[in-house]
């Protein structure tokens, strides 16, 4: 956190020098670009951190500007009531943004164009309304005739209020990167469906990011009214929304300060070129093209590249280990049962009346020919695919079609068929997420100490002889070979100590040696926790090594169940399935 203080102090010092060195007019001009920059930082938060691109953030800026202007007129510009009003306006707009995002992202695990297009439609509607309601907004001529904030001259000391806003917002965004909440956002962008299985309702995670974006954009918009003395429909318009995106892209959406830099740099450049070049927009557009093509991460990426070349490395923060709170997943009881479950994809029926009664504890191996419905069964249990008819019960509780993020709360952990880890995050960060899963709630996401949580299942897993993860700390999880990924995904799955562990081909792509280790880890976890572990496997040697009951699936139905030898001897099984060994 010390680096945040240093950077914030440097930013404040640089901005405070502007009126001293450049005079009041330049400070006024840069004050405007800084307000644009804060709004662009909102886009950076949603796009760079949350992974979803808002094309209508001018709505929050413009509506806040109109509302603040109306409050200024109503109160005659009194300072304290108006600052309070600005805060309330920003909070209301943030709440609206939260609800909008939570609804739009509900039931999905992508951030696709639908969100961008919806926000685009929103900005077009709001700009149209602003322009066609002269009685309220002043129409196309704009809303004016309101006093500035009392005692804050737009060409004088209002600049310092803007500087405070810029520094506070920048420091908060830099801090976010170093908090568990920031880690969750990065994990969201890396692998949303995996994050859901770790118990995170990702639509709400995105809703918080969008609400944060709306909040800071609205604060900038509210000050803009006082700074400009007039609010026109352009402040809520599509062109301004697009400019926010461009500033964020040029400055660097992935860095907290990137969008701020982009807005100020392009603002100053445009002001300079506007007076000297007739085709200045083309020049600005070319600069935009060159920057985004050379460095998709914007100017911030170019700076980071240069710093790395000079030997700079981001210091690794060591978090002192501390006890982890109990997990929601470990206290759940009840056996898993599937009753006549039917499920299809398009015209193909995958599960055709599947009945399975799992024990409360023990290991069950599920085998069956390719396409028998094994993975689909796990998807049905965890809500990744919708069951068309039938029921899935956990003890007395009906969990049919519960959303994917609810599975962990129901005590169910799932490892995917294709080992799925958070690429772009280090192995350590993946393990930190595993420790947060099912344990962190509310303010825990704002506590750096949560990074040091020692979740018991993870401590045991990492200490097990032969597990390679402990030494891989700073490596990008996306660069791990298949076997190490399998191991890391197992860690992600057991971190919350689920009572029901669903493992889909946990040894695929592993060497015989690693396979032996995986079997030992699965058996040790089961023996220690008394959990129910379901393992999908093709390798009969491994099924034998797990010494478990075997369920055979065929064409979406349970064909046989019993010991490995019993199902092998079953003529119905022999007819459809020939097992083998690695």
């Amino acid at each position: 956190m010390a680096s945040i203080v240093v950077v914030s102090a440097a930013l404040a010092a640089a901005l405070l020098m502007v009126p001293v060195l450049g005079g009041d007019f330049l400070a006024w001009q840069i004050g405007l670009y800084l307000l644009y920059g804060v709004a662009a930082q909102g886009v950076g938060l949603a796009w760079g951190r949350g992974g979803f691109l808002p094309l209508g953030n001018a709505v929050f800026f413009g509506v806040a500007a109109y509302a603040a202007a109306m409050a200024l007129r109503a109160t005659g510009g009194a300072l304290v009531p108006n600052l309070a009003a600005m805060l309330v306006i920003a909070l209301i707009l943030a709440a609206i943004a939260w609800v909008l995002a939570a609804i739009l992202f509900h039931g999905r695990s992508d951030s696709g164009p639908f969100f961008s297009l919806t926000t685009l439609a929103l900005v077009l509607i709001v700009a149209q309304l602003a322009g066609t309601t002269p009685a309220i907004t002043g129409g196309f001529n704009g809303y004016s005739g309101f006093p500035p904030l009392a005692g804050l001259d737009p060409f004088g000391n209002l600049y310092y209020v803007i500087v405070v806003l810029v520094v506070v917002v920048s420091a908060a965004l830099m801090a976010l990167d170093r908090l568990p909440a920031g880690l969750v956002l990065r994990a969201l962008v890396a692998q949303e469906s995996r994050l859901q299985v770790l118990g995170f309702a990702t639509n709400r995670v995105k809703a918080w990011a969008f609400a944060g974006a709306a909040f800071i954009t609205a604060l900038a918009g509210a000050l803009y009214a006082s700074h400009q003395g007039i609010v026109t429909p352009q402040a809520t318009g599509f062109v301004f929304s697009a400019e926010l995106v461009i500033w964020a892209a040029v400055g660097g959406r992935l860095h907290p300060l990137g969008p701020l830099f982009g807005a100020v740099a392009i603002g100053l450049l445009s002001a300079e070129l506007r007076d000297t070049l007739p085709w200045w927009e083309v020049v600005v557009a070319l600069i935009f093209l060159v920057v985004v093509l050379m460095a998709p991460g914007g100017a911030a990426e170019l700076v980071a590249r240069g710093a790395r070349r000079l030997g700079w490395r981001r210091p690794i923060t060591q978090h002192s280990p501390g006890p982890a709170p109990p997990s929601r997943a470990e206290s759940v009881a009840g056996a898993l049962q599937l009753h006549d479950v039917r499920l299809g994809a398009g015209s193909v029926q995958i599960l055709r009346g599947l009945n399975v009664a799992c024990p409360q504890s023990g290991i069950l191996c599920v085998i069956g020919p390719n396409g028998a419905g094994k993975t689909t069964m796990l998807k049905a249990i965890t809500g990744a695919m919708r069951v068309q008819s039938g029921h899935i019960r956990l003890g007395d509780q009906d969990i049919t079609n519960a959303p994917p993020h609810a599975a962990l709360g129901n005590g169910i952990g799932r490892k995917f068929q294709i080992p799925t880890v958070f690429a772009g995050l280090s192995v350590t960060e993946n393990l930190q997420l595993a420790a947060l899963a099912g344990r962190a709630r509310g303010v825990d996401f704002l506590k750096p100490s949560a990074f040091g949580w020692q979740a018991e299942p993870l401590v045991r897993l990492l200490a097990h002889p032969g597990v390679p993860l402990a030494g891989l700390g700073t490596l990008d999880a996306g660069a791990l070979p298949q076997g190490h990924r399998q191991m890391l995904e197992l860690a992600l799955t057991v971190g919350a100590a689920p009572r029901i562990l669903l493992l889909d081909e946990p040894t695929a792509g592993m060497s015989p040696e690693e396979t032996v280790l995986m079997v030992a880890l699965i058996r040790a976890y089961q023996a220690r926790t008394g959990a129910f572990v379901l393992v999908i496997e093709h390798d009969m040697a491994l099924v034998a090594a797990l010494q478990a009951r075997v369920l055979v699936l065929h064409q979406g139905c349970a064909l046989a169940e019993g010991t490995l030898n019993a199902v092998r001897a079953d003529p119905a099984v022999a007819a459809v399935y020939a097992g083998g060994a690695k």
Binding site: A345, V348, P369, Q482
Partner: protein
């Protein structure tokens, strides 16, 4: 036909393979074994053109292909089945196959009737094992002289692995060279004319013909 001479390759500053040399003749199957992280998939990406060598020479029938992009290599007769993302999920099974310019599946269709039954289904809605089989069939049907298969048997039931082996054996008879990256030692033993074991960035095991021995291979991958 394929020759690697003193190849070093990796990701950014990190080299995964160092000074690796090998040669493959038409109709030969090269088995590549090794623990996880020893560079099997890196070798597949190198041959397919996804990765460029840091140093060394890679030639296809005497022609240097180090700078040749993946799509040009495909036209030059190299087909690759990657370990993951081996099919286009958003296309149907038939469209996946049509991209290879083939509609008639021939022997592959007889051995994998599930593929012919599911021609109109989206590849993404198939099971993991079925997608592997489709990816394998795609690679084997490509008009290629060299096929690279990165862990084709992963998640595939034993019966279908046997069918895969039969199709590779048939391709070998046609003079197609095959590079087979596998954890499945039995499959490598059944098919390979030459086996190399990778570890610590280099070749730690090399055997041809009758020298190929299961116990030696297991030892090589469990060091």
């Amino acid at each position: 036909m394929l020759s690697l001479r003193d190849i070093s390759v990796g990701y950014g500053d990190t080299l995964v393979l160092r000074d690796v040399s090998l040669a493959l003749q038409p109709g030969q199957v090269l088995g590549v074994i090794g623990r996880n992280g020893t560079g099997k998939s890196t070798l597949a990406r190198l041959i397919g053109g996804e990765l460029r060598p840091a140093t060394g020479q890679i030639t296809l029938e005497g022609r240097d292909i180090a700078a040749m992009p993946p799509w040009v290599r495909a036209r030059a007769g190299i087909a690759v089945m990657p370990q993951t993302d081996m099919v286009f999920d958003a296309l149907t099974v038939a469209e996946n196959l049509a991209l290879m310019g083939r509609v008639d599946l021939g022997e592959a269709g007889e051995r994998f009737p599930r593929i012919t039954e599911r021609l109109t289904q989206l590849a993404g809605s198939m099971s993991g094992g079925e997608r592997k089989i489709l990816g394998f069939v795609r690679a084997m049907l490509a008009p290629a002289r060299l096929v690279v298969l990165d862990e084709p048997s992963e998640g595939v039931q034993a019966e279908n692995i046997a069918h895969m082996q039969a199709l590779v054996a048939a391709a070998r008879v046609r003079g197609v060279a095959v590079v087979l990256m596998e954890q499945n030692i039995a499959m490598v033993e059944a098919l390979a004319d030459v086996v190399i074991g990778l570890d610590s960035g280099g070749i730690i095991y090399h055997a041809t013909g009758d020298q190929i021995d299961r116990a030696d291979m297991l030892e090589a991958i469990s060091l």
